[in-house]
């Protein structure tokens, strides 16, 4: 696979794949061949169709150019392990907000059990939930691991003037105060993320010790997922492909978990930024702007014990990432970044901009089938001659640039991209219309999956799929397969229709057929389940790793792809506030919600509900979403407890 391998620089080994590069160049040539032709043949008598189509094509073409440049090479750091006996002190900050105790306990244990001397570890569990049970858990673990230093910390409540930032950033910043100045390295780890590789600290801190200009070291994040990873939660296109290219360009960004920071760099950027929804992407950008270097180490640093595998939660998480990324690209200065670094960040934005572009591409064939309205005026042979080389090169580039991903993995990623493109389009609109200060409030990603037929969340995709299929069938019936029926458009429409159908299928993930039908009734009639399902559809979220999906996407992947939409039921009934805060048994989460007893359903929604309870009101000018919830019992404001 690698033609040119083993070119060591000072700290990294560069890999170049000649085949990918060649196809990339061919893709650029095909784009240069296709785009001017497209512009010259646009049907300007229908500007409402041709101009959006041209703009969408320009977005894709720009994304192509940037992707080819960005993915020109990959890099891996030369390993540098911390020798035994020379381990420096490291602080591990674990922010938590209502995660099930069982998950949190496993996470803390995995941190303490890794290959690192306990006396050199200081673990801070920073509990935004101010939960006595968490405090008790930390106490117990502190006794068990007496050689290590475990601290329970309660950050000031959101809105408290002593708090620097809302949500996770505020939590982390508060926890940093618990880290003595003598500690040079700080790891941040999500409360449900186990240490994947027992040598995690030895490897990451080794990089930080070996290269003093490295601000942070990010690692791979995986997680517990259903067989085949249907929701693409492992994101191999990002962690196994894109991040390696970003590392080659010194444009890695932290993903919120499985990352170790140099304390000095954090200080220099003023601790974790609070402007954006989540702190990770912007913190990396700020460090890079100040001339720090970034490092990406392809080892499994974090293994999530839970991955969002129901459509509402999933859409919420990915919508947050999209909104965060587009906001950052629109409103945050890139001064100080090199051209190559900037291109890496632009690629993120261009990916999400393809959301609206994909809508245009998918609506075009529908209009063509129904009314013979096309954005370009041309003949078949000319169209084939110009478009098909572009399409072929694009498909080939997608395959090659994502190696060593299997085609199945790539297909799953693409169906997610296609299905989410409406979410991305919405994120773009919100980011633009919200302005620089329009920070939406966010909600933590639920830590339990609600298995039901979430047909509402898939409704836009279903409508689009039906329109596509229906218009094709109508055209077929009226024009005959071999006569004037637009077979060329149908071919691409079928391909991307399959992607959309794959996404729609995710809406009933985990539910057997009869459960699906029953859950349809439940979701239609019962506000409780609906409330649970769409808790995250507020385009807000505390899930870290804001833009990692975007970084993984090769621009143009959504060409002619299908669009998905977030159902407009984002604003929930206040039923959530009635729910008690209690962890859910893991076994319960495996049950389809429609088959669970009512108490189980309540239990399953409790975590997200409790998380929502503690979110701060939006800052001035923010995109406010309704929230009417009471504070939990036993809440304490701004109290830090040292054990």
């Amino acid at each position: 696979m690698i033609d040119k391998e083993g070119e060591p620089t000072m700290s990294k080994t560069i890999h170049q794949d000649r085949r990918t590069q060649a196809v990339g160049v061919a893709l650029l040539a095909a784009t240069a061949w296709f785009l001017p032709w497209l512009i010259a043949h646009a049907d300007l008598s229908k500007p409402w169709l041709s101009i959006p189509f041209l703009l969408a094509s320009l977005v894709v073409a720009s994304a192509m150019l940037v992707s080819v440049v960005n993915r020109w090479q990959r890099a891996e750091p030369i390993r540098a392990l911390v020798p035994l006996g020379e381990e420096p002190r490291v602080a591990v900050v674990i922010p938590t907000l209502g995660e099930p105790l069982v998950l949190l306990e496993r996470t803390v244990r995995s941190v303490l059990d890794q290959d690192w001397p306990l006396q050199q570890l200081r673990v801070v569990v920073s509990d935004d939930g101010h939960d006595d049970n968490v405090q008790e858990l930390v106490n117990t673990l502190a006794l068990e691991y007496s050689a290590a230093t475990l601290r329970y910390h309660r950050p000031p409540r959101v809105g408290d003037p002593r708090r620097n930032g809302d949500a996770k950033a505020g939590n982390l910043n508060s926890a940093l105060a618990m880290v003595p100045a003598s500690i040079d390295f700080v790891e941040t780890r999500d409360a449900d993320d186990l240490v994947g590789d027992p040598r995690f600290l030895r490897e990451t801190v080794g990089q930080l010790l070996a290269h003093e200009r490295i601000a942070f070291v990010q690692t791979i994040k995986t997680g517990d997922v259903a067989p085949g990873d249907p929701f693409d939660n492992h994101q191999p296109h990002f962690f196994r492909c894109a991040m390696l290219s970003r590392y080659a360009a010194n444009a890695v960004f932290p993903c919120g978990s499985g990352v170790v920071w140099r304390r000095e760099a954090l200080k220099e950027i003023g601790d974790f930024p609070t402007w954006n929804l989540v702190e990770d992407l912007q913190s990396g950008l700020e460090a890079l702007r100040l001339g720090w270097e970034s490092c990406y180490l392809p080892i499994e640093g974090a293994h999530a014990q839970h991955s969002p595998e129901d459509l509402p939660n999933f859409i919420k998480q990915r919508g947050t990432w999209a909104l965060d990324t587009v906001r950052l690209n629109l409103w945050v200065s890139k001064d100080g970044l090199s051209f190559r670094q900037r291109l890496q960040f632009y690629e993120l934005a261009l990916f999400y901009l393809q959301g609206p572009a994909t809508l245009v591409f998918l609506c075009s064939p529908i209009l063509g089938f129904l009314f013979h309205w096309y954005p370009v005026v041309t003949n078949t042979n000319d169209f084939i001659l110009h478009f098909w080389p572009f399409a072929a090169m694009l498909e080939l580039f997608l395959v090659l640039v994502h190696r060593p991903m299997s085609f199945e993995q790539l297909w799953r990623a693409r169906l997610v991209w296609a299905g989410l493109s409406f979410v991305y389009a919405r994120a773009c609109i919100l980011a633009i219309t919200g302005g620089r200060d329009g920070k939406p409030r966010y909600v933590v990603t639920r830590k339990q999956n609600e298995h039901a037929w979430h047909w509402r969340q898939a409704a836009p995709q279903i409508v689009l799929l039906s329109a596509l299929g229906g218009s094709m069938a109508w055209s077929l019936a009226h024009h005959g397969l071999l006569n004037s029926f637009d077979i060329g458009s149908a071919y691409w429409a079928v391909l991307y229709g399959l992607l959309l159908a794959g996404f729609v299928r995710l809406s009933w993930h985990g539910v057997p057929l009869f459960g699906r039908l029953r859950s349809l009734g439940r979701t239609t009639a019962g506000a409780q389940l609906a409330g649970a399902h769409v808790a995250g559809a507020q385009l807000a979220g505390a899930q870290p790793a804001g833009a990692q999906l975007a970084g993984a996407h090769v621009a143009g992947a959504q060409l002619a792809g299908a669009h998905a939409g977030v159902a407009p039921q984002a604003l929930l009934p206040a039923a959530q506030s009635m729910l008690p805060t209690q962890p859910m048994l893991p076994a319960q989460s495996l049950l389809p919600s429609a088959r669970r007893p009512a108490s189980t359903i309540v239990g399953s929604t409790s975590v997200s509900a409790s998380m929502a309870l503690h979110e701060a009101p939006a800052t001035d000018g923010a995109l406010r979403l309704s929230e009417d919830q009471a504070l939990p019992l036993g809440a304490q404001r701004g109290i830090s407890t040292t054990l």
């Binding site: 696979m1 078949t380 042979n381 084939i384 098909w388 072929a392 395959v399 090659l400 994502h402 190696r403 060593p404 991903m405 299997s406 085609f407 199945e408 297909w411 071999l482 006569n483 077979i487 060329g488 071919y491 391909l495 399959l498």
Partner: protein, 503 residues
């Protein structure tokens, strides 16, 4: 893209039945055997081509004439795509070969194509079943009458065989290496086979897909989707660019499904005659491959496709050639049977079996080679007398058209009018306006009305009369060899009639 693996997967471990210890020399000999046999096949076919045992088959004439026109830039203008069951790829190749070495050249190209197809099949056989079976498969190919017959026939099936064999090999390489680049290659080759001859998509598609299903298990769905996507794209490019004519082709085919006077029972008998023996030996191979039943059945699935196509449509055209596409897949199974026979029963049964197969193949080849008339003498006569601008009535015109057009005796192949064209002129033909009337066997015969109209002109004189030998399946389902007359009449209004030549 999945990364390549060097070690063969479990699916490619040769069955224990066909593996045993042997020396390096023996192993080398075994590895070389199929290629030596294939080389012999090619040499034999080239010799047959050079011998010019028979004249051009009607289809050979069509493709050569169309190919010559295509090479001159008139292929699309002549609207061949409105009635060809394939693209102009093979005609162009055959036309070029004809220009170089005449009929022998076109047939030599066909031999090369079939050899390539067989090479692909042998590679696939080795991948699936091991060296020993590959060698036996080569033996099986050399004792297959339809394969040998097709190997010296310049028709577009040969290009399709080359592509289909390549697709077969690529599929097995894809599974062996777990590298979907090979699957993409297989899809493109499959599309090429279909472009060479459209019905081949139907003959070859099912066994290829079933192969993937049997070898890839749960991953087959994505494989097949990718295969269909790539092949579909390639076929669509062709279809969309020639859409107007291809749409006309579809309506032509639905309106014209000639039976050429062949009854259903004759058709059925012909298919049984061509496929019974390979099917029997293939089923034996399936039984022997107990531990690879799904793979064996996938290979066997190729056999019934062409016979079913002909029996369902009632169209006998090309049935002897189409059988070969099924044989491509069943030959490895026959190889299994032969391998088993050679190993277990040694020479007691193996040699008589092989001798029997060879003898039967010889009979089949002779019968197939003699199943059309040799029209070279009449074509030569016409070539000496026809002048550019002349119009000819030739009931089965394409062999004469190839020769006359190649030799510059007619301006276009359409200066020759066959039965179909005369019947579809849209108006009564003025037979007396033609300069030549030719009646040859092997195709549709002149309707009595046309012949009598020619005679009524009073100006046509028989200038050539001969006969040719044809072997065919009679109404009693027995093969019969008979002599059929050839007549050439010339319209000479200026000259007084002569007794014997006057009607």
């Amino acid at each position: 893209m999945s990364t390549a693996v060097n070690a063969p997967s479990r699916a490619f471990t040769p069955p224990r039945l066909f593996v045993r210890g042997r020396s390096r020399v023996a192993a080398r000999a075994l590895a070389l055997t199929p290629w030596v046999l294939l080389a012999l096949f090619l040499v034999g076919e080239l010799i047959v081509c050079a011998q010019r045992i028979n004249g051009p088959f009607l289809d050979e004439g069509i493709y050569v004439a169309a190919g010559l026109r295509t090479l001159q830039g008139h292929g699309v203008g002549d609207s061949y795509l409105t009635w060809f069951s394939g693209s102009l790829a093979w005609p162009a190749m055959a036309g070029a070969a004809w220009k170089l070495w005449g009929l022998a050249g076109a047939r030599a190209l066909a031999a090369l194509c079939v050899t390539i197809g067989l090479a692909g099949m042998l590679k696939a056989s080795g991948n699936l079943l091991g060296e020993r079976v590959r060698a036996a498969t080569a033996l099986a190919a050399l004792t297959s009458g339809p394969v040998i017959a097709l190997g010296h026939l310049a028709v577009y099936d040969t290009l399709a065989v080359a592509a289909a064999g390549g697709a077969f090999w690529a599929i097995t390489e894809f599974v062996r290496r777990d590298d979907r680049a090979w699957l993409a290659g297989a899809a493109l080759l499959y599309a090429l086979a279909g472009l060479a001859k459209y019905p081949v998509l139907l003959f070859v598609g099912p066994p290829l897909v079933l192969l993937v299903v049997s070898l890839r298990g749960s991953r087959a769905r994505m494989d097949i989707g990718l295969f269909a996507f790539i092949a579909g794209a390639a076929l669509l490019i062709y279809f969309l660019s020639a859409r107007t004519q291809l749409t006309a082709f579809e309506s032509f085919r639905t309106q014209n499904n000639p039976s050429f006077g062949v009854t259903k029972s004759q058709l059925l008998y012909s298919q049984v005659y061509l496929t019974a023996v390979p099917l029997l030996l293939g089923v034996t191979g399936v039984i022997l491959l107990r531990d690879r039943r799904r793979l064996a059945l996938a290979l066997l699935s190729g056999v019934p496709m062409a016979p079913l196509y002909h029996l369902v449509t009632g169209n006998p055209s090309g049935d002897q050639k189409h059988v070969v596409f099924g044989l491509l897949f069943v030959l490895p199974l026959i190889g299994v049977t032969l391998c088993h026979a050679l190993r277990r029963w040694r020479m007691l049964l193996a040699i008589p079996l092989l001798a029997g197969l060879a003898a039967f193949a010889l009979v089949q080849v002779v019968r197939i080679d003699e199943s059309w008339p040799d029209l070279r003498p009449s074509a030569n006569v016409l070539s000496q007398s026809v002048r550019p601008g002349d119009k000819l009535l030739v009931n089965s015109a394409w062999v004469e058209a190839a020769y006359l057009y190649d030799r510059g005796r007619v301006n276009t192949p359409y200066d020759l009018y066959d039965v179909y064209r005369i019947q579809h002129l849209g108006h009564p033909a003025n037979v007396c306006a033609f300069q030549w009337f030719v009646d040859v066997p092997g195709g549709e015969q002149w309707p009595a009305a046309v012949r009598s109209a020619m005679l009524r002109c009073g100006t046509f004189h028989k200038t050539y009369s001969s006969s040719t030998t044809i072997t065919g399946l009679g109404g009693n389902l027995h093969f019969v060899t008979y002599r059929a007359p050839i007549e050439i009449w010339r319209n000479e209004p200026a000259k007084p009639p002569h007794g014997s030549a006057r009607a």
